[in-house]
Symmetry: C2
Subunit: 306 residues, 2 copies
């Protein structure tokens, strides 16, 4: 069983890649610290990105949300001068309605997610990192902001000086998450934002211990290529927190749990520096543009570490 | 100021009719006992029917909901095998999202409704009967059912043996409602279901007193023509509760507050019976098929009682 720790878009691509490998059951443990309640609906951006990617429902042009989307509800919300900063597509709304309904019936987020995935015929096991609420907040010159407000409403414009995960002290990885890690043959940290996508998962109480107890190799895929992120404010956030925007700094950040690190070919020159951390380095193409790219990266990781 | 007590579709038509009369400010006091929370969203079917009717947004074919509607969210909800028994259109969802957002920000339902109406450029003042939750429940052979479950999910099929309004004892008409009644020159009970649309409004604590104190004539429009309702289970409910499905029985039910009663021309033969209740009777066309019908009925009522 391959276990993938993932945030949204970038991580979702690699989860999709693994899902395409025959006879290779995988579990995605997905960040939920970006979740929020919007207009009464429980929205889980990272879970949805992973789910839509694996179900083949992602919109290829936009890079987020559902394909064949329409925007009638949002148009009405705009007409009401409502909170239209978060792009709620009509099809996407069906997901939020179903999840909110399931939660209102007393289901856990894990159960609600399982229901959604079953109905989309997804073979990958998609798990929220926790059934407890954790909420990422970003410190900016305007003060602390909820993640989606920073990320979507303010389009990542404010300078980031600190990040916190409200509620994480009282949150726990779900039983399914702990079971997946305990039985994993390989654990992959997907190319997601380390600060706001992977850290909330890795900092859940009990998670460092679970990773250390696992016999599986732990491998991280660099979210940076040539000093840049494919999408999102990873570089800006790293710099804001005084961390070098380099794969080496990211490998170093995780070195305590890390057995392997995947560098993009274009960053091959950095391999020796990562190796000094006692980490085995794979150098390959990590830019996942096509479906074939995604599957190829997954396959290469699999062949290197299992 | 004309005050109209209204439920959904039938009442909404007459509210629309009054809104078309120039220089005739009107206030609709609308039943909220059909409201419910569905998939996390606060849905107010009667308020929406009135609002859409007056804004010219009603769908003329379906007879409910918004024109130019699409059903992408509902299609996804069906795909998830979710609660698709309540028809949530995409445009309609925009209304529920905005209302739920406004309520989550601490607005009262009165304030939230005012915001929605302003943005739709509605001149008619549309008021929820109360800011307190009242919930209609229907007694059937399967036990007590929430109104929407009876009305939509079970398509009015179960036999009705009793009706109750949960929470009504602790609910109050809003200050705006009481002010509207106190300053009304004419109060019209619209041709809505008396048992589930008008009774919740009329049975609010303080409402009978407010109506008695008002100097305005109180006029009811029969919701029945030739022993049948235009739409909805009015007749079945009346029979289920042992009330004759006749305009005379309805006039009698309200006789304590009633000054006038509007009978359809096809029921002119019943006028003497209604008159014996001490109520002045207007006989005219009450079937509102066209916009002109609606305005004509409103105009005739206005000319008769002001």
């Amino acid at each position: 069983m391959i276990v993938l720790l993932s945030g949204g878009v970038g991580g979702a691509k690699l989860v999709h890649g693994f899902s395409l490998i025959p006879h290779c059951p995988s579990t995605a443990i997905v960040n939920t610290a970006d979740d929020f309640v919007h207009c009464g609906l429980h929205v889980c951006p990272d879970l949805d990105s992973v789910m839509y990617a694996v179900a083949g429902l992602s919109d290829p042009q936009r890079g987020w949300g559902v394909c064949d989307e329409s925007w009638q509800a949002l148009d009405m919300l705009k007409r009401y001068a409502g909170p239209d900063w978060f792009q709620l597509g009509d099809r996407d709304l069906g997901t939020h309605l179903m999840r909110t309904h399931a939660l209102s019936q007393g289901q856990t987020l894990t159960q609600a997610t399982q229901t959604l995935c079953q109905r989309l015929n997804i073979q990958t096991q998609v798990l929220p990192m926790s059934d407890d609420p954790v909420r990422t907040q970003i410190r900016t010159p305007q003060g602390w902001m909820d993640f989606q407000v920073y990320f979507v409403k303010h389009r990542c414009q404010p300078a980031v000086s600190d990040i916190r995960f409200r509620g994480i002290v009282h949150a726990a990885p779900s039983a399914n998450v702990l079971a997946a890690i305990a039985t994993a043959s390989l654990i992959v940290l997907c190319p997601s934002n380390p600060l706001v996508s992977l850290d909330p998962i890795l900092q859940l109480p009990g998670m460092p211990h679970a990773l250390k107890r696992s016999n599986a190799a732990v491998v991280a895929v660099s979210p940076l290529i040539m000093g840049r992120a494919i999408k999102g404010p990873t570089v800006e956030m790293l710099v804001g927190l005084g961390i070098a925007p380099s794969p080496v700094a990211i490998a170093s950040r995780y070195s305590e749990v890390l057995d392997g690190f995947v560098l993009d070919t274009r960053d091959a020159v950095l391999a020796p520096q990562v190796q000094t951390l006692g980490v085995r380095v794979l150098t390959t193409n990590t830019l996942m543009e096509s479906t074939q790219d995604k599957q190829q990266l997954a396959q290469t990781i699999l062949e290197t570490w299992t």
